[in-house]
């Protein structure tokens, strides 16, 4: 069938959306667990289930719809206060949620959902709701919400005003079906307003111009009414108001019925003569006395709705209708397409650099002008392409609420998860790869860090422990930290274990930082007992690998008895950065612009004044520096004038001395490849306009490396107060980073016949 691909596309969209709704459902359930009387949360859970059921049935996922329907019923009971929120209900709902996920995976062709589990869950749900046998109607999915005719609430009158938006019909919604659905809630009087219909010549045949004023008499709650419109909430205007007593004059229905009935029966024209009244006279004016108005004069319902129905009264719908006016203008794009887009922009940036190079060389003003224009455009294009990929980390963080909840239950611990900076934005590809490391860190904290409640009480701590997940920006990086207030890391135990495993000699003198670094080694665990949760020593290795792959670093800080915090420092983006291009001899390097503060000149006189120390006096402030020429062991004579680039790092301000600063450079980050993946000081390479290769330096790591190779106690450190903090690098075992850098540079040199920096691993700058 020719329509098949379209249907598949819809199904695909449904699967994607359903997963998003499940995330929402999960967060609602977990919040509900902490706050069991919150009706708003019950409503959120109900709506999520209702949406999954409804759209599931629409796209032919009948089994899924039927399953969800049962759970939805349970929440309907909760909403109508016939069922209380218990741990059992929450846990059952979470299990059901997992089952729905499995069903979605199955529909997407991944794995198979276990039918026995479904049956078990359904049985328990029915036991909970007190509905022993699934009635046939209940087992079958129904696209409509459970009719609330049996709801026990008081019978009330509601004034419902529904104006479909311009594009409602185009989304395949039939407003008449919605009205029929509404009618199932109770007795409904409808008046359609046709006033907005334009002359036929100007009428857009695919747009709905009719709006409706209705009076619904029902025992159902407001939520049940608004749920009818749940799928169209974004493309319509809806107000629902409670009324005291509706006064609708002559009945609408019989009036029409009577007239039409006459036409229905016989097919003879003679009958027409019986109907003599002009059609217009049949108009009736339903009048509604608004609940809030003291004025008794009867006004038309439409006027009432406009004057008396401030939207703010219904925040949930007011918000939906007004806060997402441009909902239709946002589109869903597969991540792969986005990656391709960014790659193309990257290529464009490289080509632009070549164009610039040519324009400069030829000194042709015309080409120069074009080059400048292209430069401006690529720069804007690059920024917008990057911003498209930026996502808040919220969804990733929120996902862990479930993990913490489940683990706390399994481990019989009381743990609260607090989240900070969830709106911090990160490149999508970074976020995607963060899930695993964060999961392992949290599992570790839950299992090893946090003590059981009794032990905590004995240590005069709060019974309930806290895990704090936070994210914040710092220059061109994002800091993501997982902190707990548990028992902390026993450095001595780690040391013993390291000796036991032969990682270090028994008499080695180790700093705390060096000891903590062992935690990241593969297969390392101090746990004597391997539990379900952790202890196999795999987790931290995963963390290290993932963070390395993202060119990030790991900091571990811990204090016995007070807790542990692990901070991941990750680059904002993996694709393109703003860099500063510098030259040392014939070698080019790029330093990230985001960390660079200023460039100043370093003269021989300055050097003499410093008495051989590698420090510069910048407006009274002493800034230690690293001379790249020496750091990379380039043997040639240094020029008369050098330049210092002052950069802000975690360890304070440091300068990097280069021969010449060439200017800013849009830097497309290319990986050095697997062979050089342990080269820490170089975060990648980029291709310059003339085809040569520039290595991208990581100032943070350069400084750390320089500090580490210096003897403790003789450090000239940047302005920073050092706390009891252990700084651990992601890959402590890599000891010869520069050798690889040299090879990388040599390779580029071979290819480009440009002189490479002669680099040696062993010689380091010792300020």
């Amino acid at each position: 069938m020719s329509e098949e691909p379209t249907i598949d596309k819809f199904k695909q969209t449904f699967l994607e959306e359903a997963r998003e709704i499940l995330v929402e459902l999960e967060s609602a359930l977990l919040a509900l667990n902490d706050n069991r009387g919150d009706n708003e949360l019950v409503g959120r859970a109900f709506r999520a289930l209702h949406t999954i059921k409804g759209s599931g049935a629409m796209f032919g996922f009948d089994e899924l719809a039927a399953f969800t329907h049962n759970l939805e019923n349970a929440f309907d009971e909760v909403r109508n206060r016939r069922l209380h929120v218990t741990s059992e209900l929450i846990n059952l709902s979470l299990a059901a949620l997992d089952q729905i996920k499995a069903m979605l995976d199955e529909a997407a062709g991944r794995g198979e959902a276990n039918r026995t589990v479904s049956a078990e869950i359904l049985l328990k749900v029915r036991q909970l709701t007190g509905k022993p046998e699934p009635r046939p109607a209940e087992a079958a999915p129904s696209p409509e919400p459970a009719p609330a005719a049996d709801a026990t609430g008081p019978v009330r009158h509601w004034h419902v005003r529904f104006s479909p938006g311009a594009d409602l019909l185009r989304t395949g919604t039939d407003p008449l079906l919605l009205l029929r659905e509404l009618k199932q809630l109770g007795s409904l009087q409808i008046k359609a307003s046709m006033a907005a219909i334009p002359p036929i010549g100007e009428l857009d045949p695919e747009r709905c111009y009719i709006s409706w004023d209705m009076v619904l008499t029902t025992s159902a709650a407001r939520e049940a009414i608004s749920d009818v419109f749940i799928f169209v909430a974004d493309s319509c205007e809806l107000t629902i108001e409670a009324m005291v007593e509706p006064k609708i004059e002559p009945k609408i229905e019989p009036a029409i019925e009577q007239k039409i009935e006459e036409k229905i029966e016989p097919k003879i024209e003679a009958k027409i003569e019986l109907t003599t009244e002009p059609a217009i006279e049949m108009r009736i004016k339903p009048t509604i006395e608004p609940a809030s108005s003291p004025v008794s004069s009867q006004v038309s319902s439409a006027a009432v709705a406009e004057s008396q129905a401030p939207k703010a009264k219904f925040p949930s719908y007011g918000r939906r209708a007004s806060d997402t006016p441009d909902n239709a203008s946002s589109i869903r794009v597969p991540a792969a397409k986005l990656d391709q887009f960014v790659n193309l922009v990257g290529e464009l940036v490289t080509v632009q650099a070549r164009l610039f190079e040519i324009a400069t060389r030829r000194e042709d003003p015309e080409v120069g002008a074009v080059s400048e224009e292209v430069d401006r455009l690529t720069s804007a294009l690059r920024e917008s392409s990057i911003s498209i990929r930026m996502l808040p980390i919220r969804a990733t963080f929120e996902r862990f609420r479930r993990l913490v909840h489940d683990l706390a239950r399994d481990l019989h611990k009381e743990v609260e998860l607090t989240i900070e900076g969830a709106d911090t934005e990160l490149d999508k590809s970074v976020i995607d790869q963060l899930n695993d490391p964060l999961m392992h860190l949290i599992r570790n904290s839950m299992d090893h860090g946090i003590e059981p409640p009794e032990k905590r009480l004995a240590a005069a701590k709060r019974r309930s422990a806290t895990i704090h997940l936070s994210a914040r920006h710092s220059g061109a990086s994002v800091l993501i930290s997982v902190a707990d207030d548990g028992g902390g890391i026993n450095a001595e135990a780690v040391r013993e274990r390291a000796i036991e495993k032969g990682l270090v000699a028994a008499d080695a003198q180790l700093t705390e930082a060096e000891i903590f670094a062992f935690i990241l080694a593969p297969g390392f665990s101090t746990a004597r007992q391997v539990t379900d949760v952790s202890g196999r020593g795999v987790g931290m290795d995963v963390v290290r690998r993932s963070v390395e792959a993202l060119r990030g670093t790991i900091d571990i800080a811990s204090k016995p008895g007070t807790g542990t915090s692990v901070t991941l420092r990750l680059p904002l983006t993996l694709a393109i950065i703003d860099g500063l291009l510098v030259r040392v001899e014939q070698a080019y390097f790029v330093l990230p612009l985001a960390t660079t503060l200023e460039c100043i000149e370093l003269t021989r006189q300055d050097i003499e004044q410093a008495n051989g120390k590698h420090v510069a006096n910048v407006r009274g402030e002493i800034i230690p520096y690293i001379r790249l020429r020496e750091y990379f062991n380039m043997q040639t004579e240094r020029p008369e004038r050098e330049q210092i680039m002052v950069a802000e790092t975690e360890d304070g301000r440091y300068g990097f001395v280069v021969d010449q600063v060439l200017g800013d450079h849009q830097t497309v980050i290319k990986n050095l490849g697997r062979f050089y993946r342990h080269v820490e000081l170089i975060s990648g390479a980029t291709i310059l306009g003339n085809g040569s290769v520039a290595l991208i330096l990581d100032p943070q790591r350069l400084v750390r490396d320089a500090l580490r190779t210096m003897s403790v106690g003789k450090r000239a450190v940047g302005k920073r107060v050092h706390g009891k903090r252990a700084d651990v690098r992601a890959a402590p075992r890599t000891r010869a980073p520069c050798a690889a850098a040299q090879s990388a540079a040599a390779q580029s040199a071979a290819a480009q016949s440009a002189a490479a920096p002669s680099v040696a691993a062993e010689t380091r700058a010792r300020p």
Partner: protein, 120 residues
């Protein structure tokens, strides 16, 4: 009496899911709607109604064979009836109204049938 019959193009007339025709005689112009009259053929119905209005004759709607009228059809008929009345003509029903259609109009809460129920 001359009768011209123009059949509006439909997606697949053989399937009979929907069909609309315009029957013109000297005195009146009958818009016949068969099957499901919904958004899929709304543009077509509009064209047909404009054609019928342009004929200057009395307008009749024949819904005998219709099985469904949706919101788009209702508002088009409504607009056409208003236009016809404005130019001193009538747009009324010819023949019987199937129960499904009658109930749709009821459910939609229209204060009257979109086209006139009685003949002038």
């Amino acid at each position: 009496m001359t009768q011209t019959k123009s059949k509006a193009p439909s997606r697949n007339a053989d399937e009979g899911s929907m069909a609309m025709t315009l029957d013109q005689s000297e005195a009146r112009c009958v818009v016949r709607m068969d099957g499901e009259i919904n958004i899929a053929c709304a543009a077509e119905l509009k064209k047909l109604l404009l054609q019928a209005l342009a004929s200057g004759r009395e307008l009749r709607a024949d819904l005998d064979g219709a099985t469904e009228l949706d919101v788009t059809a209702l508002q088009l008929l409504w607009a056409a009836e208003r236009e016809a009345r404005g130019s001193g003509r009538g747009f009324t029903l010819a023949g019987r109204v199937p129960e499904e259609i009658a109930s749709t109009v009821r459910d939609a809460g229209l204060e009257r049938f979109p086209v006139g129920v009685d003949a002038k």
